[in-house]
Subunit: 163 residues, 2 copies
């Protein structure tokens, strides 16, 4: 899943989440479910939505409910551990902590997500924002189309159809 080099971080996601919870105005608890979720997400997942996470954690024998999944995902975003992904009309998530800023290619056929970084992005963002006196907080950049494999498959099929 992870194709980009990870960023060096001093704490484990689990520790970072515990500290985040403890540091709230009203301290929040680092419960079993919350611990399971951070560990699960940072061991196995990268791009996922609430439902996928719920199903997979249940299948792996974890005790979590859907409401807890939704509630905890929000907190993981607030804690800076996850980044919400704007992809179609559902909410997706990916690792933020320990993972570099990047954007995505999404295959409309097999739904694979390919991560990319482009050296010009930073400049482009800065220039656009300067032009409009816009103070950027974040961005979402997504390219839709056919990935190499799906495109090859299609081309091959087309060639066969002609025979």
């Amino acid at each position: 899943m992870s194709v980009l080099p990870t960023v060096a971080v001093s704490q484990s996601p689990e520790e970072k989440f515990r500290e985040y919870l403890a540091s709230r105005p009203k301290p929040q608890r680092f419960t079993g479910q919350r611990r399971d979720m951070v560990r699960y997400i940072f061991t196995k997942h990268n791009h996922f939505d609430a439902d996928q996470l719920f199903d997979e954690m249940r299948a792996d024998g974890y005790q979590v409910s859907r409401p807890t999944i939704y509630r905890t995902l929000k907190q993981l975003v607030a804690a800076g551990l996850l980044r919400p992904l704007e992809l179609g009309t559902r909410k997706y998530y990916e690792h933020d902590y320990g993972y570099p800023q990047h954007d995505h290619l999404v295959c409309v056929q097999c739904h694979k997500m390919i991560e990319f970084q482009h050296p010009d992005m930073e400049n482009l963002l800065r220039n656009v924002c300067l032009d409009h006196q816009f103070q950027m907080q974040g961005h979402s950049f997504l390219i839709r189309g056919l990935c190499a494999e799906c495109n090859r498959a299609k081309t091959t099929k087309r060639r066969l159809d002609l025979v």
Copy 2:
């Protein structure tokens, strides 16, 4: 609303929609509601969602139902008249026909949408896709943050708070 120069087109949106409907394998009808919707959208709107369109058309005295709005919006996209916008978790739409390719800045405070074009975008897209042998079909690029006005307002307030 429209800040970018429009693209010269030979047909009116209404004509284009009628032709699209008539040219389907099973020809579809250019009904009163469909005609009202194309006209309404291309006279007044640019960025909107199904609900806003429904409310505003009703407020302006048009006879349309919610299901018809949803069904017709899909067809307008299929006809190449509208472009769906990936913005948060709801479906938004904007003019496609007669309007140039562009991207958006969205103000998180006042929800204003600012359109922009950047000369480097085309190259960047091409390069990223080449690198990954990806056949692009489209993209969605959105910058979130504070617009000039909201940023000014905030800065002013901060200065006042210090007095």
